[in-house]
Amino acid sequence: MADFDQELDARGLNCPLPILRAKKAINGLESGQILRIIATDPGSVKDFEAFAKQTGNELMDSAENGGEFTFLMKKG
């Protein structure tokens, strides 16, 4: 996985908290910077795709490993 500028641990959180926390974290980034998010909510896979589509941020990568989901989101 590529480098990232900030990491958000959203493990154990359920809908809609991973999205809300990610939004807050992205607000603090500069355009082009990358946020790495780790979540355990299986619903977050589709939700981060939908979030990226609607907010103009780019979901660069989405991966699953042992029940943990990792996302790379580049601020648009």
Binding site: L20, K23, F51, Q54, T55
Partner: protein
């Protein structure tokens, strides 16, 4: 891209029905929507400074009950005095365990995200509710104000 708008009418005052308006509003705000929730009738309970929301198994056959009580004592099992408090406590514990946010937290996130919380003046009067018992900074409005916002909303929900 012009800002999208979400308008919600919240009419229910139980713990379970408190979730949809606050989950959808906080998420919509995070997606860039301009959001208004119009609280009327029992929905006004969701605006109280001190929330005391309960979930009721009564008249709710979809609600899972402990020890199969709903199977052995249908209807009566759900009407036993104190059952509401027991079910509310169990629901809150389960939610905490599963990482579901509390209503207090979701409501706070909505306020932070500048979701407009408006109270129906007519039902506030109807129930003799005191403005001092409700959140500070609310607007007290009528149906016309709802339409002023919702008239050109992209999504409008009645909950």
């Amino acid at each position: 891209m012009s800002e999208k708008k979400l308008a919600i009418i919240a009419t229910k005052g139980t713990l379970d029905w408190a979730y949809p308006p606050f989950i959808l509003s906080s998420t919509a705000a995070a997606l860039g929507y301009d959001v208004m929730i119009f609280f009327t009738f029992y929905g006004l309970q969701l605006l109280k400074k001190n929330l005391n929301l309960k979930v009721s198994p009564l008249g709710n056959p979809g609600m899972p009950m402990p020890m199969g009580m709903d199977k052995w004592f249908p209807v009566i099992g759900t009407a036993i005095p104190g059952m509401e408090s027991v079910m509310t406590m169990m629901m809150k514990n389960t939610m905490k365990k599963k990482g579901v946010a509390s209503i207090e937290d979701l409501r706070e996130l909505c306020i932070e995200a500048e979701v407009k919380l408006v109270a129906c003046q007519m039902t506030v009067d109807l129930f003799d509710m005191k403005q001092s018992d409700l959140l500070d900074g609310l607007e007290y409005v009528g149906a016309a104000s709802f339409f002023e916002f919702a008239g050109d909303a992209d999504v409008t929900l009645y909950i």
